[in-house]
């Protein structure tokens, strides 16, 4: 196992991540300008007639709502468009940062907390960008980019470790399967979490730049429906790796406990939504509890508990 590190590439990776943070922030400003000065969704949005939305497909967010009074400022819409372009550039920078790090150390670039958080931010932005090609969810841009910028900033400031080789326990192709699945699922869960928080902020009795609660809830649900099987797979892949590495597929290591708790919490959300009386706000709160479990599992467990996952290399 080589311990050679290409320091030039590793430094380039660090710089790319820094640039990515700035670009996400710039994109966030663009989205925020569009939100602040763009179109306002009116109270009547909820009471629209079926026929009125007929032209759009039923699942697509209502974009044809009648703006209340002033037409949106053209420049504000343009700011939103520029923000989308900036997000794509930042996304490319994020990807390049991950790739250069991986090449520099000649292994999968998500073997410690820093690399893991960088990859999760990338996954969250990817989920947002992919979903945006299919649904009008540009309003989420400000919140997703600020989350990604904060996540990356936190990683750069508090979690950064020099690029280098990893513990023998991580020398396994399972890192590509287990950690990648966890990253993808986490990215989608973050998207769902952002929507769920916006749901609580949004009040349907007032005009708002945000879409209606119903639409926010639908996006939350959709993201969780996609990511829940991926998370399930990530947990199972983790168990299979544990079976190779530690001699048991499940041993109630703190990370395993919290992955399990997170899984149960999201399962509870899916069941809650299917139960009368739990829809709407109650279900959203359940999803946020699950989201809190997820975040605690990703970050908190490595900081507060020592366990078999503690090679995640959090600088003390």
């Amino acid at each position: 196992m080589s311990s050679q590190v290409n320091t030039g590439l590793a430094t380039l990776s660090d710089q790319l991540i820094l640039a990515t943070v700035l670009l996400y922030l710039a994109a966030m400003i663009g989205y925020a300008l569009e939100l602040a000065f763009g179109r306002v969704r009116t109270v009547t949005a909820e009471k629209r007639q079926p026929v009125a939305v007929g032209a759009a497909s039923a699942d697509v967010l209502p974009s044809a709502e009648t703006p209340r009074e002033p037409e949106p400022e053209a420049w504000a819409v343009r700011a939103g468009g520029i923000a989308v372009v900036l997000t794509w550039i930042a996304w490319a920078g994020n990807l390049a940062g991950i790739l250069t790090r991986g090449i520099a150390v000649d292994r999968w670039p998500w073997a410690n907390m820093y690399e893991f958080v960088v990859a999760i931010c990338f996954a969250a932005v990817t989920a947002f960008l992919v979903l945006m090609t299919r649904q009008p969810i540009r309003f989420l841009g400000a919140f997703v980019t600020v989350t990604a910028a904060l996540g990356l900033g936190f990683a750069v400031l508090f979690l950064h470790v020099q690029a280098g080789p990893v513990m023998p326990a991580l020398h396994s192709y399972w890192i590509a399967i287990h950690v990648t699945a966890a990253i993808v699922a986490s990215g989608l869960f973050i998207l769902a979490g952002v929507c769920a928080i916006l749901y609580l902020i949004r009040r349907d009795d007032r005009a708002s730049v945000l879409p209606s609660r119903k639409d926010l809830e639908r996006i939350t649900h959709r993201a969780i429906v996609i990511s829940f099987p991926i998370w399930t797979f990530a947990v199972i892949a983790g168990a299979m790796w544990a079976d190779r590495a530690w001699g048991r597929y499940w041993g109630w290591d703190p990370k395993e406990v919290w992955a399990f708790i997170t899984w149960v919490a999201y399962a509870a959300y899916l069941h809650a939504r299917a139960t009368a009386g739990w829809r709407g706000k109650a279900a959203i709160i359940v999803s946020l509890i699950a989201f809190a479990c997820l975040l605690f599992n990703l970050i908190g467990v490595n900081i507060f508990f020592s366990g078999l996952h503690s090679y995640a290399d959090v600088p003390s």
Binding site: M1, S3, P50, V51, V53, G54, A55, S57, A58, D59, V60, Q135, Q162, G164, P165, V166, P168, A169, H171, R218, H221, R222, V225, I226, F228, P229, T232, F233, I236, M240, W241, R244, A245, W246, G247, R248, Y249, W250, G251, W252, D253, P254, V257, W258, F260, I261, V264, A265, A267, A268, L270, H271, R273, A274, T275, A276, G277, W278, C293, F305
Partner: protein, 554 residues
């Protein structure tokens, strides 16, 4: 527990189908007998609300398992907890908080949950079997009143429409002037598969616990191991495991190698571990060489041996006061500092005369002087030395019959040899000998060996558990990604109306696309191109209509 229902109820009574939606909160029986109460209890247990509460309790109950050390995971840490705060530990132990995952209260939660699950899934599976055999319901009178409705002019025949929908893998029933089609039965199948797979997973885990075993053993380079209960340092069998059932393999540890990062910020970080074993699968088979590594266990007929840890076992030769060699061999030392592999060694010499001898020593793999002291700076044995911290004589207490740790000197009955000096003496270099005070003899540091800890596992439940987990994922994907949908076509006087509905949450967008595709497919068969003219009353045709509002709908 109630599986999330598909909720296939529609606004139009003709098309209304119920696939057992979530049971409503059962009304408390008044004046009902025992049977009534039992029935009420069963319905309450299998209701979704109870299942949700049990799910939350399941998650909540797991939390202490991550906060407090667990006996099943790390018994040493539990012992440490008892030593540090005995009163608190006693109370925690009363609530089985050191054995959360085997505690009766935890088992009560998940057993209730799984009973609730079974109580819901089994009746639902039966009704699903009936559902699968049932034909799609006849077309409602007014198709345009359905969530998706469209009308166009054309001479489509019942046979043509049925054939087209069949080609799209719909299940089709025809009437005199209508076609009813349904698709997506796999959704409920997947849903049931997922929940049944969870039950199977529970059984597989339970069976693995009953019929499997785990054992830990420490082996020093040059030593061997034979898979018998007595050979283990710690053996944890399932209730149904007999000592004779252990796979009769054996091996010798020929060599262990660890490599570390030699420079830079990550200096000392391990890169690779490798244990060279000579393995005999059965007592009579020829030995084979195995390179045991992390992530790559030794597999002997389903019994797996894993490389778990490693450390140093310096070898010593102790000559007693009578000039006899009382000890000559390796002493496995406990790793004190993972970064430098500074290790604590306890040397017990019960055969020494006239009194037994005991030593506490520190092993430094890469020694450098640091002021008045010596420290290790690197985990590999570059410059190994042993620092004798304390020498004792007296009764080691080995004959008292009380079990004691090999890593601790029970020093009550031991007296220090000579004067204890505040400054530990200079460490012994490799091969160096030091005379003991009071003419008790001498000790020589003769060499360095390494030890490894191994875990041997046999778990007959792991393959069934994997199968159940895979089935659960498959079921989950089916139940979340497939939508159940119905399409009806009615033809009257060259006027064709198509109606469709789906009740799968959040998927109506995708269905509206599919519906539009189906409509254009049906329309394409028209020979008269002028049939494109929309006709749907005052409603623009080709426009999927907002789904009607029902209690359960998205």
């Amino acid at each position: 527990m109630t599986v999330p229902p598909d909720t296939e109820t529609t606004g139009t009574p003709e098309a209304s189908v119920t696939i057992e939606s979530a049971p409503k909160e059962p009304a408390r029986p008044v004046g009902l007998g025992v049977i009534g109460w039992l029935r009420w209890g069963w319905r309450t247990l299998t209701s979704m609300r109870t299942a949700l509460i049990l799910l939350f309790l399941f998650a909540l109950g797991s939390v202490p398992g991550s906060i407090f050390p667990q006996r099943g995971v790390d018994p040493d840490k539990v012992a440490q907890y008892f030593a540090n705060s005995p009163t608190e530990a006693k109370w925690l132990d009363r609530f089985q908080l050191f054995d959360v995952f085997t505690a009766p209260w935890y088992a009560a939660v998940y057993l209730l949950l799984f009973v609730s699950l079974a109580g819901c899934v089994l009746p639902r599976a039966l009704s699903h079997v009936k559902e699968i055999r049932r034909k799609p319901p006849a077309a409602p009178r007014n198709l345009l009143r359905l969530p998706y409705g469209e009308a166009f002019e054309g001479g489509l025949t019942v046979e043509e429409a049925a054939a087209k929908l069949r080609r799209k893998r719909f299940r089709v029933v025809t009437g005199p002037d209508w076609v009813a089609a349904e698709k997506g039965y796999l959704r409920e199948t997947g849903n049931l598969l997922f929940h049944v797979a969870l039950l199977a997973l529970l059984f597989a885990v339970g069976a693995g616990g009953l019929y499997g075993y785990r054992g830990n053993v420490l082996v020093v380079e040059g030593d061997g191991f034979a898979n018998t209960v007595a050979a283990y340092d710690r053996f944890m069998p399932g209730q149904r495991v007999s000592a004779e059932s252990l796979t009769p393999f054996s091996f010798t540890l020929k060599d262990f190698q660890a490599s570390y990062v030699g420079s830079g910020e990550k200096m000392g970080q391990p890169l690779d571990y490798s244990a060279k074993l000579s393995v005999q699968d059965t007592p009579s088979s020829a030995p084979r060489d195995v390179d045991l590594k992390v992530n790559d266990p030794l597999d002997v007929n389903g019994t797996l041996t894993y490389l778990i840890g490693h450390g140093y076992a310096p070898t010593f030769k102790v000559t007693d006061g009578k000039g006899q060699v009382a000890f000559d061999g390796p002493v496995p030392c406990l790793v004190d500092d993972q970064a430098t592999y500074t290790s604590e060694c306890t040397i017990k010499v019960p055969d020494a005369q006239p009194t037994q001898l005991g030593f506490v020593a520190r092993f430094l793999p890469s020694t450098v002087p640091n002021g008045n002291a010596w420290v290790s700076v690197f985990p590999a044995a570059v410059n190994p030395t042993v620092q004798i911290i304390g020498s004792f004589k007296g009764d080691l207490g080995l004959d008292s019959g009380q079990p004691q740790s090999v890593y601790v000197l029970d020093s009550d009955k031991l007296k220090p040899l000579g004067k204890m000096s505040a400054q530990p003496a200079a460490p012994l270099a490799l091969g160096e000998t030091r005379d003991l005070p009071d003419g008790a003899g001498k000790i020589q540091f003769t060499g360095v060996k390494e030890w490894i800890t191994l875990q041997t596992t046999r778990d007959p439940g792991r393959i069934p558990a994997l199968g159940a987990a895979a089935a659960a994922v498959l079921g989950l994907v089916l139940s979340l990604m497939i939508r159940r949908r119905r399409v009806w076509v009615r033809m009257t006087d060259r006027k064709v109306t198509v109606g469709g509905l789906t009740r799968t949450e959040g998927d109506s967008g995708a269905f509206s696309e599919e519906f539009a595709e189906l409509v254009s497919l049906l329309r394409d068969s028209q020979d008269s191109p002028d049939s494109q003219a929309p006709q749907a009353g005052d409603r623009p045709a080709a426009a999927p209509v907002e789904p009607s509002t029902g209690p359960d709908e998205e």
